[in-house]
């Protein structure tokens, strides 16, 4: 009897571990794909095209979920990742995600980027006011300075559209915690310096 229970636990444990490791593996593979796609300028072209369409037709086009839309670099925590469109499980399993409907980094408005606390934003709590963030999105290359860092409840309405360019990074809080997160860490940054290239050269 004890042997049977042991065997059952062994098999179930092995399956759970395999699933978790497999999901991590899929995330890493997708992250590599996203990096390659970004390097191939597909993401830049898509964003530039969307921005061009919005500029010329007064309409807003957004990339499909999972498409690379930006690159984010945070020197203080050694983070250099490609941002994918969408914040669903598949996107966040691979890379930080851009909240659909929010602005893109560098555009007027609030650009919201989220990531898992156990993955890409596992050191987001180390950021302090005054630290810098660099983003690259299509034709925009921006440097940001962190202006606020706060913890809010998971049901608090903490993300608002802003008239000026704002970058908001979110992850679950507490960072080192297992299971559903009761709170969220919100880091807000304002542009420090921006460089814009033409749509034609970007696409």
């Amino acid at each position: 009897m004890r042997k049977r229970i042991g065997l059952l636990l062994y098999v179930v444990g092995g399956l759970l571990l395999s699933f978790a490791v497999g999901r991590y593996g899929v995330g890493v593979a997708r992250a590599d794909e996203a990096r390659e796609a970004w390097d191939a300028a597909e993401g830049k072209a898509a964003v530039a095209l969307a921005r061009s369409a919005a500029l010329h037709h007064g309409m807003r086009e957004t990339p499909v979920d999972g498409a690379p839309v930006a690159r984010i670099v945070i020197p203080k925590i050694d983070l250099d990742e490609i941002v994918l469109e969408g914040v669903d499980g598949d996107e966040l399993n691979a890379e930080p995600g851009h909240l659909s409907g929010s602005a893109y980094p560098g555009e007027s408005g609030n650009a919201v980027i989220s990531a898992h606390r156990d993955r890409h934003f596992n050191h987001l709590d180390a950021l302090d006011v005054g630290d810098t963030i660099v983003t690259e999105s299509g034709t925009h290359h921006d440097s940001w300075v962190v202006v606020s860092k706060r913890v809010v409840g998971k049901n608090d309405r903490a993300l608002f559209s802003t008239p000026d360019a704002t970058l908001t990074l979110t992850t679950c809080w507490p960072i080192r915690y297992l299971g559903p997160a009761p709170e969220r860490l919100i880091v807000t940054a304002k542009p420090l310096r921006r460089k814009q290239t033409s749509v034609a050269s970007a696409s």
Partner: protein, 147 residues
């Protein structure tokens, strides 16, 4: 008899003429739907090259349809799709994101970023360890019994 023939003859000639006179001024009623469709097609032809007129066309079509008593279909999605580059599979219309934008404007919750994977991995390791422990204990007991 000739007088009677003359009257009949004049009736035969004059009656159709009178009837025709009535029907020549008859304009068959056209359906309002057809009118609105024609107006929109005509406006589309003149506005194909001009994006500013193209923008106004949406309002024009809505106005024409509303005047005709037809419920105007939403043209925003079609217009967005028609202006998007079909070569780019990575771009879609943002019509589906309107609610997201509105939610952000009114205050949105931060996305759920708590991953289940660390917990699953931990439970998996613990379960695996327990299983191995029980299997090992069972094996040791059998060895002891055999001895």
């Amino acid at each position: 008899m000739p007088t009677r023939r003359l009257i009949v003859l004049s009736l035969i000639v004059s009656l159709p003429a009178a009837a025709a006179a009535q029907f020549t001024t008859f304009i068959p009623p056209q359906t309002k739907v057809m009118d609105s469709a024609k107006a929109v097609v005509a406006a589309q032809k003149t506005a194909q090259a001009d994006t500013s007129i193209n923008t106004r066309l949406t309002n024009l079509k809505t106005w024409v349809d509303s005047a005709a008593g037809v419920v105007a279909p939403s043209t925003q999605g079609q217009d967005s799709l028609s202006t998007a580059n079909p070569d780019s599979a990575a771009v879609r219309s943002s019509a589906t994101n309107t609610s997201d934008t509105a939610a952000l404007r009114n205050g949105a919750r931060a996305p759920e970023t708590a991953s289940d994977l660390p917990l699953l991995a931990l439970v998996g390791v613990v379960t695996l360890g327990l299983g191995a422990l029980l299997l090992g204990a069972g094996g040791n007991r059998r060895m002891r019994t055999d001895a």
